[in-house]
């Protein structure tokens, strides 16, 4: 049981994305990443933006769609052990506000990146592939789907 716990929430991970201040913290950390990349002298602006986009999508993919379960023990005997964090948000309810925010933010970043890379074809390919890799798992149809059995257990 959640002995020693102050609430009756079975899996606190489901509420983390709804907490006050996390969206702002997320935007600020993307901003910090971008500024850090900008300060490296030998990257041009388009490269910096593509790198921001790619690194952001990579980290998002790893944290939201690869890592499964909870970093603490839950009282439901591990019902969510095989679910990624994205699938755990709000106990699997689709199209809640956090899910919408996290789906829209890579798209916004993609649009900014496309603008700043002047729609260069090479950058376009890289950025679009990266965007698709992070948008597809967020579709409601992909809830619980493990392609080719990768990351199943």
């Amino acid at each position: 049981m959640n002995v020693g716990v102050a609430h009756s929430e079975v899996n606190p991970n489901t509420r983390v994305m709804n907490s006050r201040g996390i969206w702002l913290a997320y935007v600020i950390s993307v901003g910090v990443l971008h500024v850090v990349l900008l300060s490296i002298p030998f990257f041009s602006i388009p490269v910096v933006w593509t790198l921001t986009n790619v690194i952001h999508n990579l980290v998002m993919y790893v944290l939201l769609h690869t890592v499964k379960g909870t970093p603490f023990e839950t009282p439901d005997q591990g019902k969510d052990r095989l679910l990624t964090h994205w699938e755990q948000i709000d106990y699997g309810t689709q199209c809640t506000s956090s899910r919408k925010f996290l789906s829209v933010s890579p798209v916004v970043l993609y649009l900014l990146t496309s603008f700043y890379t002047k729609y260069d074809p090479a950058h376009f390919v890289v950025n679009t592939a990266s965007l698709l890799s992070v948008l597809l798992p967020k579709l409601p149809q992909f809830h619980g789907v493990r392609v080719f059995g990768i990351n199943k257990y």
């Binding site: 379960g69 603490f72 052990r81």
Partner: protein, 553 residues
Amino acid sequence: MANPSAVCNGHLHHHHQKQNNLLKSGIYKKNGITKGMKKNGISNGSLYKKTFIEHFEQAPMYVAVLTFLGFGVGTIFGYLRDFMRAWGLEKRNIAAEREQQKDFVPLYQDFENFYTRNLYMRIRDNWNRPICSVPGPQFDLMERVTDDYNWTFRFTGRTIKNVINMGSYNYLGFAETDVNALKTVTIELQKYGTGICSTRQEMGTLDKHVELEKLVAKFLGVEDAMVFGMGFATNSMNIPALVGKGCLILSDELNHTSLVLGARLSGATIRIFKHNNMQSLEKLLRDAIIYGQPRSRRAWRKIIILVEGIYSMEGSIVRLPEIVSLKKKYKAYLYLDEAHSIGAVGATGRGVVEYFGMSPDDVDVLMGTFTKSFGAAGGYIAGKKDLVDFLRTHSHSAVYATSMCPPVAEQIIRAMKCLMGLDGTTQGLQRVRQLGKNTRYFRRRLHEMGFIIYGNDDSPVVPLLLYMPGKIGAFARRMLEKNIGVVVVGFPATPITESRARFCVSAAHTREMLDTVLNALDELGDFLHLKYSRYSKSSHPELYEETRLELED
């Protein structure tokens, strides 16, 4: 905290409270710091005989952002350390499987241990500290040090004496070792022995239990009571006896684990309403009565509302008058768990029922524990004689669990007699008054200093918000250096942004002890930048009515 009316929720001059016209019954009132001009017998009648002020102030946004960044940094370092441990660059301190079992399927998923390994272990020295005296207002700690960053501890052999105890639930100060006070307990121990080894229904009902139950019933002003050996088990074993399949349980969001477990074991449908939020409760009640059971649309066999008197993590007091009027209107039952409030609130220590000036007949099932205010162990359920007789036959605890042991029963009897004045002194009443004074003083000073404190002004549980994970460890350690023992709690026991330190004021704390603690908090608050409150009491005196200030002495 979703509690619109009585909440000082960060908006100093908002003249209208958003939701109040929703309830047609008009029982909702505008309470709170912004509405300072409170007199008795206000607009819609006197549901509340005195002002009900609760605070759940939100910290500024930058605090929440920094908290998440703190957790983020902790997570990054956690992954780094895990990587180093996996590749042998760092020694592994945690228990591991034997070499021969390396190819077996692992017993535990190591990600579930991530938080414990990487975040909890760093500040582990602030919990489970061994003490070597009774946990009264001061206690002695065994000094322990760690050579490998909290993976193992070793005792130096010294004891740290007279650490001020701000963590024990010792509201009335009955956790004492005074030989004279415990004389009757020693006599009973010699007479009856330590254990009973039988259940209530077989051979375990002694005259001590009957005496105790009569005394509890008299104390609370009800017809009958039944006592159980364990406070947690009182909830978890009796709720299944009272409700079953086809019944509806409406339980508060922040109810204790024992209530949640009892509700789950009963097989009834559980619906959760927002903490202390009466519109949420009324909406659930109306939906339950209008729509009935989920698929068959039949009426519910029983609707029971589970609430606590004082919530131990928030320090908030239940809105009993409103709940009672709701329950009467919609014909539901009320189960009140007074674990923290019995003995601690109310003019003579009879709990929230007395605090609000209501009659104990309004509450159907009065439950409480003897662990907090009476310095003993166990719990009770009190109410009408029919209810208690039913529980005597149908409770799981009565059939399968051993009954309360006699020395503990005697301790409760002596504490209760002291509280009721039956031992011929006014010591009990003095303790209750001292607790009230200490509570109000402590809370007022903390507000003035500028900390964010949750909860009702009259509740002896004082959560002080720390927010950031780094400050949890720093706060507890520095308080120990100043010889004060505190309890700190963080995620996942609290919401991720709301880690806190929880103080439990006791009647046994003297003014000097409280002043020591307050001065230490003042210094520490400046050093750790914990004074987030944007509405310190002293800077806005016009918002506080004169009558409140008269209570301080």
